[in-house]
């Protein structure tokens, strides 16, 4: 049976209205509600279902970030992960933590923990990078099934249905492999009281990027973060003829 490693990221909650910092260096995170990246919830759900179907023997959740990342890991444990690894990254290093760093960390932990499958969300809703799964697979030299909407066990590995432009693509991969979860893969369960209670005492190991030999020097520099342009006010026209005239004038028809 496979051992599954799942990456979970703590992000600003999807329902929060994002505010850009006045100095355009990033977005306001202080005092803002955070939760698990929704695509990572789907990744955890898939891993737990593999365990419940006896396809996986153990599910290990990993998160990189400050102390609060442990809350996200507890959520993964309440959803059914068996144990957690908190890779502590804080202060300025956390500010500039990038997909390449996370991919190197996941790759190292996959080897240390002898994982057969790595599952991550296809992207995080804060930076929308969509790079971690691909980079992790490249570093490990493992096959990848990205944007998965269905994952099935086949004789020699996995059959992954991928969401691609204009349809679905079905691929077969050998194990070990890296999977990234798309929106329609499953509907994640809620963490309920009995599960939260039993998850409080599940093992959580804390390590640093240094322990794993991963250099956190930034490779990308953020020049500026800006609000999307404000929508221009529209105008009301008295009749259809005027509308057609205006559209022609604007070169739209």
């Amino acid at each position: 049976m496979a051992r599954v490693l799942v990456g979970v990221k703590r992000v600003i909650d999807y329902a929060v209205k994002i505010r850009v910092k006045p100095d355009k260096s990033g977005v306001v995170t202080d005092g803002v509600k955070h939760s698990m990246n929704p695509f990572d919830e789907i990744a955890v759900e898939e891993a737990v279902r593999m365990k419940e179907k006896k396809l996986a023997s153990e599910v290990i959740a990993v998160s990189c970030g400050p102390t609060q990342a442990q809350e996200t890991l507890r959520t993964a444990l309440a959803m059914g992960a068996d144990r957690a690894i908190h890779v502590e990254v804080a202060g300025p290093e956390y500010e500039t933590l990038q997909p390449l760093h996370v991919a190197k960390i996941l790759a190292k932990l996959s080897q240390d923990e002898k994982a057969d499958i790595v599952i991550v969300g296809k992207q995080a809703i804060d930076d929308d990078s969509n790079q971690t799964a691909q980079m992790t697979a490249a570093i490990l030299d493992w096959p990848q099934g990205t944007f998965a909407s269905k994952v099935e066990k086949s004789d020699s590995g996995l059959t992954v249905t991928r969401e691609i432009d204009g349809g679905l693509e079905v691929i077969k991969t050998k194990l070990p492999a890296v999977i990234s979860a798309d929106l329609r893969l499953n509907e994640p369960r809620y963490a309920t009281l009995p599960n939260i209670m039993k998850a409080k005492k599940k093992p959580m190991k804390k390590v640093s990027a240094k322990d794993l030999g991963v250099d956190l020097a930034p490779r990308i520099k953020i020049l500026s973060v800006e609000d999307p342009p404000v929508r221009q006010a529209g105008s009301i026209v008295p009749d259809v003829d005027t509308l057609v005239a205006k559209l022609k004038e604007g070169g739209h028809v």
Binding site: D82, R83, R189, T192, L193, N195, M197, K198
Partner: protein, 213 residues
């Protein structure tokens, strides 16, 4: 006590939807708002759920009453009391439902009353003691904590070596390591109900073991 009784009745509902439908229990079930809540008026209400380990132990006792015949039984970490109630229903010589949480003891008493049995209770911490008054120790779903698991297993092995019968019910939580399982004998395995699976994400079966001498 009066205050607890009101809260208990408000937040729980009557259920037989578990592996031992012979036993009626008041529990926090999926129909109770508290089941989905992250804030509970009770601090860690372990007594509010019928954990898979307890279900396996109680089911086994109900089906194999000879195993507890004329026994003096201590149910450690009794929680909702179902396992102790199962032993009482099968007429064991003596059964004590023990839980260090005084709130659990109140819940055990009320659940025992629902099944018309008398169950002795106390809140002592027996771990590490000789348990001279008992010859049978029941442990339901207590291997969910690493440190506590160490302490617990050392003590149980010691008691087993003194000829006491130690029954451990568990869905296979992380505290039951391969090494520990190698010192136990599997007596039975049961498929958990769908509802019980929802309460214990990642688990589908629950087992009863006896710790070897």
């Amino acid at each position: 006590m009066q205050n607890f009784k009101a809260l208990f009745l408000q937040h729980t509902s009557l259920t037989r939807n578990h592996l031992t439908p012979e036993i009626l229990l008041r529990l926090v079930t999926p129909s109770c708002p508290l089941w989905r809540s992250k804030d509970s008026p009770f601090e860690d209400p372990f007594w509010a759920f019928y954990w898979p380990g307890g279900q396996a132990t109680a089911r086994y006792i109900l089906d194999n009453p000879l195993i507890i015949k004329d026994r003096r039984v201590l149910d450690v970490g009794s929680g909702c009391g179902a396992t102790a109630i199962a032993a009482a229903l099968r007429g064991t010589k003596r059964v004590l439902a023990n839980d260090i949480d005084p709130v659990a003891v109140m819940a055990i008493k009320m659940n025992a009353e629902l099944n018309n049995v008398e169950v002795q209770t106390d809140t002592n911490n027996y771990i590490g003691t000789n348990c001279e008054e008992f010859d049978t120790i029941l442990i339901g779903d207590m291997f969910y904590d690493e440190d506590f698991g160490n302490m617990l297993f050392t003590w149980l092995r010691e008691l087993a070596s003194k000829d006491k019968m130690i029954l451990v019910g568990d869905p296979g939580r992380h505290g039951l390591t391969k090494k520990r399982l190698s010192q136990m004998t599997l007596l039975a395995q049961y498929k958990m109900s769908a509802e019980n699976c929802e309460e214990n994400n990642g688990f589908t079966h629950t087992s009863l073991w006896r710790i070897n001498k």
